[in-house]
């Protein structure tokens, strides 16, 4: 189980990167559409949700990789 926990750390870091790519692709147009509602939505996605997921998952993955979650 400890080995699984450790190597899944890589998956979480990769997932963080994949989410960034996906969010930019899907919601990127929101920031440039010129509509006020889209802008608010885009700001929340890009400046709150995305950094939180990416930073959090990366640190979580790093901790897993460095055996912080070992039994």
């Amino acid at each position: 189980m400890n080995t699984l926990k450790k190597y899944l750390g890589i998956v979480w870091i990769l997932l963080a990167m994949a989410i960034s790519y996906y969010f930019i692709g899907i919601f990127g147009s929101k920031l440039t559409s010129g509509k006020q509602d889209d802008l608010v939505f885009g700001i929340i996605i890009f400046f709150i949700l995305l950094p939180l997921i990416v930073t959090g998952l990366t640190i979580f993955g790093w901790y897993a990789l460095t055996d912080e979650y070992e039994d």
Binding site: L4, L49, G56, E68
Partner: protein, 594 residues
Amino acid sequence: MSEKSTKGIWKIITASSLGTMIEWYDFYIFGSLAVVLSTKFFPTDNPTAAFLSTLATFAAGFVVRPFGALFFGRLGDLIGRKYTFMVTLLIMGGATFLIGCIPSYQTIGYLAPLLVLLLRLLQGLALGGEYGGAATYVAEHAPKNQKGYWTSWIQITATAGLFLSLLVILLTKGLLSKEAFEEWGWRVPFWISIFMVIISYVIRKNMDESPAFAKAKTEGKTSLNPLKESFNNRLNLKFILLALFGATMGQGVVWYTGQFYAMSFMKTVQNIDSSQVDTLLVIALLLGTPFFVLFGWLSDKIGRKAIMMTGLLLAVFLYRPIYREMYLLTDAKTMKESGNSLVSDGCKVIDSPVASILTESDKADPSIKNSKVFIVTKMDSLFSSGAIFHYTKTDTLFLDKALAFDLNINAKKEVWLKYDAKNSNGDFIHTSVKLKNSLKAGDTPAGVDTIHCGSLRQFADGKSIHKSHEFGKSKIANLIVTKNITSNVKWYLVFLVFIQVLFVTMVYGPIAAFLVEMFPVKIRYTSMSLPYHVGNGIFGGLLPAISTYFVTTAKNVGNPEFYLEGLWDPIGIAAVCFIIGMIYIDRKINTLHD
């Protein structure tokens, strides 16, 4: 547990839960009244855009919750739980009351939405501080092996607050006329809050500080800098991240899907009458609420992890079948295919005035070019089961030279707009609309005698009966459908929402005890509040806006299952959370700080 201590803890539960429930009530009133608030405070002619603006404000209220968790969590770990959650109660109550007092946009202009936004942010901050305090306070009073059971009473408060908000709205709507409610009655639920807050404040004032915190304070073991100790300490930060990605993130999306997205889905995707949705949601919540306590109690016996993970897994696999079933229940095509025939397939105009005319010139000249005529047609469609679908269709006719040919003034000086429309058989039938005698900008005609129109199916499909019009360019500006469902459908929907509420109770019932047990007393308030409010406030709170975006996008590109697209957000997040929770959460995690 002795009878005396049981009595004592019930007193604590009542005082804590009452205040927390009122805070949730305050918070949800805003969401439950989102549609009417959008028309009062957000300056736009497009109701969808107005609604999205409100959702954005709603999200703003959620997004600031983690900041409230940090600010008040720190205070709670420095000066005590009791005083901190009394402050949050007063801030929340004051902000809610004031939202009910703000004049509309029409009266004070942009100051109105600005004030609403500021007060909404205050509500978010207060809620961020409240929940962690109440959960910690109750858990620190509860015996070691019963924390799940006793804190589950705090867990009920969120659903009870939503339930209460819907109930107050339904009662207010029931006691007032539709016009009165839309004019000023929507303010009543906000005003009522102040009375509830005063009562709760008085009850809380007489409570003692939590024994665990009081002991730590006496022994000088409280933290001097809770934020630094929580987030600068690798050992503690890893648990905060685990709590977020392995528990609260999934719990947050399951909570908001079961209770908020379900409501939004029925109102805006299925187009069911708003009051019917509120009623069936109230019933489902009422039936589901005892399960918070059941799963809280069970988590003391078999562990928190097993119950929470089961709830997440069920949600991942069952959301799509549940929402498909919900949608098909009110889909006109499916209803007809299942033998629910259309009794009234014609278009019956049921209201007037139903047409207005706007020209781009002040000249009262019916033959003027480049004029626009808006024809608003209200129709009913009755099914054999008793279901009634109300259609309000607004057509915009752009008059050109040819169409002016159709405008006639008869001997009585009545102006008639005449044109041809296709009926359900594809034949052209003659159509007449009586307009006001004079044609000038902003005129509203006296009424319409008859509009012969085609099959309702054409309207439901969003196709214009004027599409093949020979005389003028035309298009559908808007089509609003409101569905009145039958009792059978209503009860089936209650059942489908109830199942979702069950998932909510599985993931949410044990989570307060789970979080409290993860962190030491001196930084507990701060450390447990943050993952809770990030999971619920950000992952959960943004869910309705993100899911609505997915549904709208899928609908615009013609995806036949567009109504299921909004579920990718909760399913994806709950699935990742399940995997992390299953692999990384140790069953012994709740004994770390014994």
